[in-house]
Amino acid sequence: MLQMFLQFLHDSAIATAIREGESLFPWIECIHVLALTLVIGSIAIVDLRLIGLTSRDRSVTQTTALALPVTWTAFVVAALTGGLLFSSNATVYAHNSFFQLKVALIALAGLNMVAYHLVLGRGAAGWHTPAQTPWRARLAGGLSLGLWIAIAVCGRWIGFTISTPT
């Protein structure tokens, strides 16, 4: 079933164009890199504030209002371009351990975000200056930062475990 879906993706017109084109793959990769650096950078702004290392003179909600629109926009772009890169060689990527780990870590980062919104971040509107955030905020921030760095590590390793230019 999964195999059929992967083959279907692989054979789609767009995947074929990316695979066989001279420069489509690198251009999509460029946009993917731009988007993922903005995802990680903007999430780091929030995480470092939650941990209490930066922007201590601003409230947590002011910091998230600044960073999260960038995060979400960039995440959508990164996911779309990532999907396109994946489709170009779907069966091979799907069996790559670093790809599998990366997807799992992104899911964990998503869970961490949900946990923050439901539990860990309760009362965030009251986290003003000066900034000793509660332990659960520091936990969510630290986990998020660690997960996203690990996601970047996995992403780079995919390129070294699959035969494309690195």
């Binding site: 420069s23 690198p26 990769e29 460029c30 890199v33 731009l34 993922l36 650096t37 903005l38 990680i40 950078g41 903007s42 780091a44 702004i45 922007s55 002011q62 600044l66 960073a67 629109p69 960038v70 760095i149 970047a152 590590v153 780079r156 390793w157 390129g159 070294f160 230019p165 690195t166």
Partner: protein, 167 residues
């Protein structure tokens, strides 16, 4: 010129350091990841600051306050990029130094850093320097657009080094 570059590349590639970088499998991916994380700091700081210049985000903060908050991240990432970039060059000198895109990237870097400085310096004396007069509001709009385009082009060029190889 080309001969000297060839000589430099072969000399670098023959050094023990270069040999270590290429023969230990995890070094290049790890250094590239560190390079990308530093790029993340640069591009995010550049985006936040330039969106403020364009009047799109963080409007409750003075421009000078946004640059004071975020541009140190951009400047302090540059030494990290230099050291990690240099490691990648020493590891695979011909791959980088012979790629015409690498030269382009360095040119873009000088331009982007210059535009960023031109925006930042007046704000250190006067936090709302760029919004006080009509010509300044116009000028900073152009500078911010140029800055965002240049930093983006640097990221694109970085990725293209892997694809455009010299002979």
């Amino acid at each position: 010129m080309s001969n000297r570059l060839d000589a430099l590349c072969s000399w670098l590639a023959a050094t023990p350091v270069s040999h270590t970088i290429t023969s230990v499998a995890w070094i290049i991916p790890t250094v590239q990841t560190m390079h990308i994380l530093a790029v993340a700091a640069v591009i995010t700081a550049a985006l936040v600051v330039n969106l403020r210049f364009l009047g799109v985000g963080a409007r409750e903060l003075a421009m000078g306050s946004v640059t004071r908050r975020y541009l140190p991240w951009l400047w302090w990432s540059l030494p990290v990029l230099f050291v990690t970039g240099l490691t990648l060059i020493v590891g695979e000198p011909a791959r980088v130094l012979k790629s015409p895109v690498f030269l382009l990237k360095m040119g873009l870097l000088i331009a982007a850093a210059s535009v960023t400085l031109v925006c930042q310096i007046p704000l250190q004396r006067e936090a709302d320097f760029w919004s006080l007069k009509k010509w300044r509001r116009r000028a900073v709009w152009f500078l911010a657009t140029a800055s965002l385009s240049l930093w983006t082009a640097i990221i694109f060029a970085g990725r293209w080094i892997a694809y455009v190889q010299g002979d």
